[in-house]
């Protein structure tokens, strides 16, 4: 059937589809605002049970900061713990394993009961150009989706490496779709004094992080929705 103006059904059908599309988009937008609004508010009910926690590790300094935070978090509340590091980074998972093994020894349990360790493709290597990182980010997204479907964490802790962006984006998507409600906490690295990192900026601007912490007061003044928590190192 060609698109003649003598076909009233076709135009009606298309306007119905159009209205449905508009309606669906409006619903999605409302849902996104709902997620952003309630995500950034503290939970009103007491957390009765431990929460499954995803910890995104980065290279070198990032990992040291994250492990510092983990050392003061109550392990019985944040359990089980899933560690993810870039596939090119063996050191970070090794350090996390050391921490978990010593915890397991203390409590007389197996590490495999409380913690799991995984690797993920990196969205951008240090020094890689921003243009090629579009492609590598896509691959990382697919891999992140697979991992997130397996883990479905209630809490995500991350502090800087680009690896956390796909994971947080998927967590946000899961929230919008109602698959899993997770709280995303982002701690900006102490190395960022005057400007947020690319990861931090994305999570801040797109409002994907429920709480974004910074370690320098001048950074909090520049990004007022961030929370200043002092130095972790």
């Amino acid at each position: 059937m060609d698109k003649g103006n003598a076909c009233p059904y076709a135009s009606m059908a298309s306007s119905v589809t159009f209205c449905c599309a508009i309606f669906a988009i409006t619903l999605v937008i409302i849902r996104i605002f709902y997620v952003i609004y309630w995500g950034s508010r503290p939970h009103r009910t007491r957390a009765p049970q431990p929460v499954s926690t995803l910890i995104v590790l980065g290279s070198g300094g990032h990992t040291a900061e994250m492990l510092n935070l983990l050392s003061v978090l109550q392990k019985d509340r944040f359990t089980p713990r899933f560690y993810i590091a870039a596939a090119t980074d063996n050191m970070s998972l090794q350090k996390a394993r050391l921490l978990e093994n010593s915890l397991a020894d203390e409590n007389g349990v197996q590490t495999s009961e409380t913690a799991q360790f995984m690797q993920i493709y990196r969205s951008r290597e240090v020094g890689q150009s921003y243009i090629t990182s579009v492609w590598t980010t896509l691959i990382a997204m697919m891999h992140a989706l697979w991992l997130m479907m397996k883990i479905r964490p209630q809490v995500i802790l991350c502090n800087g490496p680009g690896t956390c962006i796909p994971l947080c984006a998927i967590a946000f998507l899961f929230k919008v779709l109602g698959i899993r409600w997770s709280s995303i906490f982002y701690v900006e690295s102490i190395a960022r004094v005057r400007r947020l990192s690319l990861s931090g900026l994305l999570l801040y601007k797109l409002r994907m992080a429920d709480q974004l912490f910074v370690q320098w007061p001048q950074l909090q003044r520049k990004y007022p929705r961030a929370t200043y928590v002092g130095r972790l190192m």
Partner: protein, 178 residues
Amino acid sequence: MGDDGDSTECRRVVFVTVGTTCFDALVRAVDSQTIKKELFTKGYTHLVIQMGRGSYIPTKSTGENGSLDVHYFTFSSSIADHLRSASLVISHAGSGSIFETLRLSKPLIVVVNEDLMDNHQSELAEELAENKHLYCSRPQTLDRTIADMDLKSLLPYSPGDATPVAKIINRFLGFLDD
């Protein structure tokens, strides 16, 4: 600060570290005659260079007839030992190296690598230099920094604390404070 070499027969080591990076400009700078001479006149006896992935090979020296003992390696699992035995640390701007050195209260010169694309690393070094915890320099100005530095004016760094963040996260999730 910096005069702890007396116990080990006046062995005063300058430890240069680039971490896992490639930072030839720094290795070349500390290998220059001007800087080696400057360090020697300041009373340092040994120069140990951890050169990482760099390709520039410094010249070894046994430190005879009034010069520095120079020695280098690429990587080591005992960086902490090297830091501990050093009287002065010259480091790249990675936060891991910076805080590890500060925690050992060793005098530190951070040299910023200007060849990095996203050069945010200078932020941290400059901020800590402003607070007088370390000196911040560039490969081409390192000789001046060493000549002008006064290690006694450096202030000790008190380590940070992660409990405030942990508290906020707990409260956010509805866990009661203990």
